[in-house]
């Protein structure tokens, strides 16, 4: 027998199918289909955890996702461990390891429970008021201790070995909830021809029929009818039925997030299956059929293990075949708890008394109670309970009468009524409306293409619910524009349970005595007196009360607590409840794992990794790569025994002495084509392009409208109406966007088009005195002599038999070429060039050497030597700004007073007095190192390297009025020393530029 409290012949599970699991190390047996909650109760265990603030012993309150107490740590193995799982939702699988949380050293003896004794200290707002002084103590002392003591669960430290999936789904009608309303609506919509998705968080659809067994529909029990409808839906091509699937977020325009728990209930899941599946559903129409959530009664010590919702006890009995106790007290303000009591009694459980706060109760219910021999006390209340780790008695008193009588019990079931579950409606930005007659908040106008039906819409009657659902299904299909002639007639139904009766707020014996703990919010340990205190302290808005007390916050989002808290606040404020207002129901409805949110985007799919066509060659030749945006770029190529410094020094030296090969494929490239191409570039760059002849290229600077440098690059004119524009690697997408923006919205009259060719071309830079000699024999159709092809020219021809755009240009100061070939040929052409280059003493060089070589020549890197506040003049690039053009982007911004004033930071060279010291990039520059802190900073170092070719360190920086300080000494104060530097120009090698023509 899987647990002493299993009742033979009750429930829907198959007793022979047992599974084993452990709870806090104790080996237990369950039945397949059990939730952890039902399995524990079957084994007589109600104590499942300690509460958040007071560490009070707690057990299952519910049998569903509204559970605030029974949060467990569920493990499959050491890496597959999830904290804060609801025991009432988690299905037991063979081998499952469950652990209680928030207790130390053990569940039954918990040191933190001292908080319970010291509870006058822990009233609402306690943290805010107490841990305020001294300020420094907050970070070092209070916060760590509080966090340690108060945390719920422990997150796993190992990598999640599971995988997750995502599906964007589109449908005509999404039905949220698989109770009677949802099922009827889905079937109605499906028969009308709509594409339907219906989801429900439980393993089986049927909603309230999991516990409510007195209803018949179409001659079947409610639950059997539901399963028949599910079977019919599953057989239809236009319907997707999702069980174990929670709609957790209702976003704009009927975009609803669902998370499907795929393998959480399986002992040995197929490794190919995702653990969870995210469904991002875009529905033309949404039918919200989320039912209602039962509320507990608020009275003194209403939180002892064994005290739970009446519907929960009924679920455990009728679905799982488990009795929640042998002697069960009933405390209610609602009819439906009677049916729970009747079911328990018929199953052999002793029901000593039904305590009903209402003075008048339906005579038929009283008659049925009498038939079963159950005593009913109307106009009475449960005013207290006893029992440390499990409830063992309750005290019952006549309302307003005082005194009271103790009843020995081992469980107490309660109901103060049902709260329509308006979470989805509220998330869809709907405003709930107070229904005075039934005293509850109901959906008002639906702001999106959706409708609410059934219990969540305040429809209590079964036949009305079915009729409403059938109508909603049909209407949804019609509004989605897909309704055909088909339809579905509502079946005949006979309801078995009344849901009438409603009590909000605290009852008899819940205060105002300040020591009484009558819990409103179990998860956050908020009591009735906390809410009263909040109001007394001036929190008049319910949003303030919520934050002051934490009522309804955290993972349960007020499912059981919201209305009670509101009612107590309203009473204190002496305002009608609807005037106090309702707090917002936020997404997610229940917690969602990070795995489900991230889904496919982990590991290699976390972010695209972009590799150039030559990547494999580079890797095979020992390249160390650096990340440049999403690109992997060869950083340097260390030879055996070389460290980075040595490798870079060798690469820099080799380029100037012989030659080097560099992979420049990541540069952005844009083909600008059309008769107005030059006119367009005139507007986008500071330079003038009119006189650039086809076959020549030029360095260009692009500004933003504010006059600051945005990007730069070499632009080649391939033909009168065709330019080959290059951009920085990082700037490629935004430059394209920037150019398109101007072309489409400011200069649409220009006849020109832009096409990104960044990835069409692999780019092999061959730089150095031997560059021409290396590639010339491989090239066909181009006269590469210096006379025919001078510096800054471009030719089209063939290399290694494939088409090339061959640029003669240089980012090193050496004579050099950039070989553009169609990307798929990049690797082969590189290899052919390398086969010639290597024997001639050339090397492959990476981005670090490239940086050093360009700095030796004072070539700037946009984004390193500029930072979005540097003008062409600041960067010493005034020569590249056309003086006669009437317009270009940035022409006006450049003239703003602050951009033309004296004393702006200007780019200069910096040479350390000690040539061996390499400055730190970003280091600040001052005139007087002996001034008091904070010093007046003149600027900072932007680029700094050891230059093997110069035999010393070199640096560039931006310095206020820098160009007027040539030859002067400035200082770079560092934590351990002050470095003396001399201001120079920015060219450190070959100042005349003669090597370019070599």
């Amino acid at each position: 027998m899987s647990g002493a409290n299993r009742i033979a012949g009750k429930g829907r599970l198959t007793p022979a199918r047992t599974v084993r699991f452990t709870f806090d190390g104790q080996a237990l047996t369950a039945v397949e289909g059990d939730t952890l909650a039902s399995a524990l109760i079957a084994n007589g265990i109600h104590l499942t955890g300690r509460s958040f603030k007071y560490h009070r012993p707690r057990g299952m309150l519910s049998a569903g996702p509204e559970e605030p107490n029974a949060l467990m740590d569920i493990g499959r193995d050491s890496a597959r461990r999830t904290p804060n799982v609801r025991a009432t939702v988690q299905e037991v699988f063979d081998g499952m390891q469950a652990k209680s949380q928030n207790r130390w050293p053990s569940l039954s003896f918990d040191i933190g429970a001292v908080n319970n004794l010291a509870s006058p200290m822990f009233a609402a707002g306690f943290y805010y008021k107490t841990f305020m002084w001294p300020k420094a103590a907050w970070k070092k002392l209070y916060e760590p201790v509080i966090r340690n003591a108060a945390g719920l669960g422990v997150s796993p430290s190992e990598r999640d070995p599971d995988h997750y999936a995502n599906h964007h789904a589109h449908c005509d009608v999404l039905v949220i909830g698989g109770g009677v309303a949802g099922l009827a609506a889905a079937l109605s919509a499906a028969h009308a021809g709509a594409e339907v998705i219906i989801c429900d968080e439980q393993p089986e659809m049927g909603g309230a029929f999991r516990h409510e067994t007195d209803t018949t529909i179409a001659g079947k029990s409610g639950f059997d009818w539901a399963q028949a409808v599910v079977a019919e839906l599953r057989a239809m091509d236009n319907v997707r039925v999702l069980t174990r699937t929670t709609a957790f977020g209702y976003q704009a325009q009927n975009h609803v997030g669902l998370v499907e728990r795929v393998t959480e209930h399986l002992a040995a899941p197929d490794a190919r299956l995702p653990r969870e599946r995210m469904w991002q559903v875009r529905a033309r129409q949404v039918v919200i059929a989320t039912g209602a959530i039962e509320r507990h009664m608020v009275f003194a010590n209403n939180d002892r293990p064994g005290i739970m919702l009446a519907s929960a006890a009924r679920t455990f009995l009728n679905h799982f075949g488990v009795a929640v106790g042998a002697r069960v007290g009933v405390y209610t303000a609602n009819d439906s708890a009677y049916n729970a009591a009747f079911d328990l009694k018929r199953a052999g459980v002793s029901i000593p008394v039904i305590v009903d706060v209402r003075p008048q109760v339906d005579a038929a219910l009283l008659a049925r109670a009498a038939d079963l021999g159950i005593e009913v006390l109307t106009g009475h209340a449960v005013v207290d309970t006893k029992g440390s780790l499990r409830v063992r008695s309750m005290k019952v008193a006549r309302i307003g009468g005082g005194g009271g009588k103790d009843y020995a019990i081992d469980a107490l079931i309660m109901s103060s009524g049902w709260t329509p579950s308006v979470h989805m409606y509220s998330q869809s930005r709907g405003k709930v409306v107070w229904d005075e007659a039934s005293e509850r908040f109901l959906p008002g106008v639906h702001p999106q293409a959706s409708m609410s039906i059934g219990a969540c819409n305040g429809t209590d009657d079964l036949n009305e619910t079915i009729a409403e659902a059938v109508r909603a299904g049909r209407e949804s299909a019609e509004k989605a524009g897909v309704a055909s002639g088909g339809g579905w007639a509502p079946p005949a139904a006979v309801a078995g349970t009344s849901w009438a009766g409603n009590m909000m707020g605290s009852g008899e014996g819940a205060g105002p005595d300040t020591t009484v703990k009558a819990f409103v919010d179990f998860q956050n340990d908020v009591t009735a007196k906390d809410i009263r205190l909040a109001v007394r302290e001036g929190m008049e808005s319910i949003e303030h009360v919520k934050r002051f007390t934490t009522n309804g916050m955290a993972t349960d989002q007020g499912k059981t607590s919201n209305i009670h808290g509101l009612a107590i606040a309203a009473e204190m404020l002496d305002r009608p409840l609807p005037k106090v207002g309702l707090t917002t129901f936020r997404s997610p409805y229940t917690p969602v794992t990070f795995g489900a949110i991230v889904n496919h985007s982990r590991g290699a799919l976390f972010d695209p990794t972009r590799k150039t066509p030559m990547h494999d060659w580079e890797a095979a030749h020992g390249a160390v790569f650096e990340d440049v945006g999403q690109w992997k770029r060869a950083w340097y190529y260390p030879r055996t025994g070389e460290d980075m410094h040595q490798a870079v020094n060798r690469e820099c030296r080799t380029v100037r002495e012989a030659a080097g090969l560099f992979d420049a494929s990541t540069l952005g490239k844009i083909e600008v084509v059309g008769p107005d191409a030059a006119a367009f570039l005139n507007l986008l760059y500071t330079n003038s392009w009119d006189k650039l002849e086809p076959g020549r290229c030029k360095y260009g600077i692009m500004l933003r409208e504010d006059g600051f440098i945005y990007d730069d690059g070499v632009v080649g004119r391939m033909a009168e109406d065709r330019f080959h524009v290059t951009t920085t690697t990082g700037g490629a997408p935004r430059v394209m966007h920037h150019m398109e923006d101007y072309l489409q919205t400011e200069f649409p009259h220009l006849k020109v088009w832009l096409t990104s060719t960044s990835e069409q071309w692999a780019v092999i830079a061959v730089q150095g005195p031997k560059a021409r000699e290396i590639i010339a024999p491989l090239v066909e159709g181009i006269d590469m002599s210096s006379e025919a092809m001078p510096h800054m020219s471009v030719r089209e021809g063939r290399i290694c038999g494939v088409p090339t755009r061959l640029f003669r240009m240089s980012f090193t100061g050496e004579a050099g070429f950039e070989v553009n070939v169609p990307a798929d040929y990049g690797k082969a052409v590189w290899e052919a060039i390398w086969a010639r280059a290597e024997p001639m003493g050339a090397c492959a060089y990476g981005t670090e050497a490239m940086h050093v070589l360009r700095a030796e020549k004072g070539y700037i890197i946009v984004g390193q030597d500029t930072d979005g506040t540097v003008t062409p003049d600041d960067a010493g690039l005034n020569w590249a700004v056309a003086k006669k053009k009437p317009d270009f982007v940035g022409i006006r911004g450049m003239k703003r007073p602050d951009l033309v004033r004296e004393g702006r930071k200007q780019l200069v060279g910096l040479q350390t007095r000690d040539p061996k010291i390499v400055l730190e990039e970003g280091a600040q520059i001052v005139a007087d190192p002996n001034q008091t802190v904070p010093m007046k900073m003149l600027g900072h170092v932007t680029s700094s390297y050891w230059s093997e070719n110069c035999g010393r360190s070199i640096a560039m920086g931006v310095v206020a009025g820098g160009r007027s300080l040539m030859g002067q000494t400035l200082y770079v104060p560092m934590p351990d020393r002050t470095i003396e530097v001399t201001v120079t120009d920015t060219v450190f090698i070959d100042k005349q530029g003669e090597r370019l023509n070599g």
């Binding site: 496919h600 985007s601 799919l605 695209p608 088009w753 990307a823």
Partner: protein, 188 residues
């Protein structure tokens, strides 16, 4: 120069295969591609050069019997794909000489394509593409530039259960890995 060895082509996804129950993910053969821009009012004048009439409606494409495809990407933008790997340069020069104001740019190597086929093809794409890819909203021949996971792609539906996914070369590893991962859950 007769001894110059012709460079061989290294395709970014060569050798990759993936799939799962009901779906195969395969690199498409190399193809010629042209990014074509022309005023739609003059698009008709290119029909004889192209051997097809450029589609003028959003989200539509034209495929000829010889395997040439023209995909509408924007109101004045088309992607031409030709089964012949050499078509890029040839088409580009032919279009430039058509006497119509055009921008024709060879992008044969910029893009690479992945074929996703089988009963789970649509679901595989739906793992990463937020567009409605149902046969009603995205029928055979429909095409669109859109997103797949974290990258931009062009999707062309070549059959009820067949798609061609075009992406830039350096994103093809991501695209292929994504589609292979998604294929595993396609028949959910």
């Amino acid at each position: 120069m007769a001894d110059i060895a012709h460079a061989h082509r290294s395709e970014p996804l060569s050798g990759r295969v993936a799939g799962a129950a009901g779906v195969t993910v395969t690199p498409a053969p190399a193809a010629g591609r042209v990014a074509l821009r022309v005023n739609p009012s003059e698009a008709g004048q290119l029909s004889s050069i192209l051997g097809l009439a450029l589609p003028l409606s959003p989200k539509t494409s034209v495929t000829t019997e010889t395997g040439r495809m023209a995909l509408w990407l924007g109101p004045d933008e088309w992607l031409l794909i030709d089964a012949s790997v050499d078509a890029g340069p040839h088409l580009t020069s032919a279009l430039c000489e058509a006497g119509v104001l055009v921008s024709a740019v060879d992008v044969s190597h910029r893009n690479t394509a992945i074929l996703v086929e089988g009963a789970g093809a649509q679901a595989t794409l739906e793992s990463g593409c937020p567009q409605n890819l149902s046969l009603t909203a995205f029928p055979v021949g429909a095409c669109s530039r859109t997103v797949l996971g974290k990258i931009e792609v062009v999707i062309l539906r070549t059959g009820a259960e067949a798609f061609r996914v075009e992406c830039w070369r350096s994103f093809s590893d991501y695209a292929f890995t994504f589609l292979a991962d998604a294929a595993g859950d396609a028949l959910a």
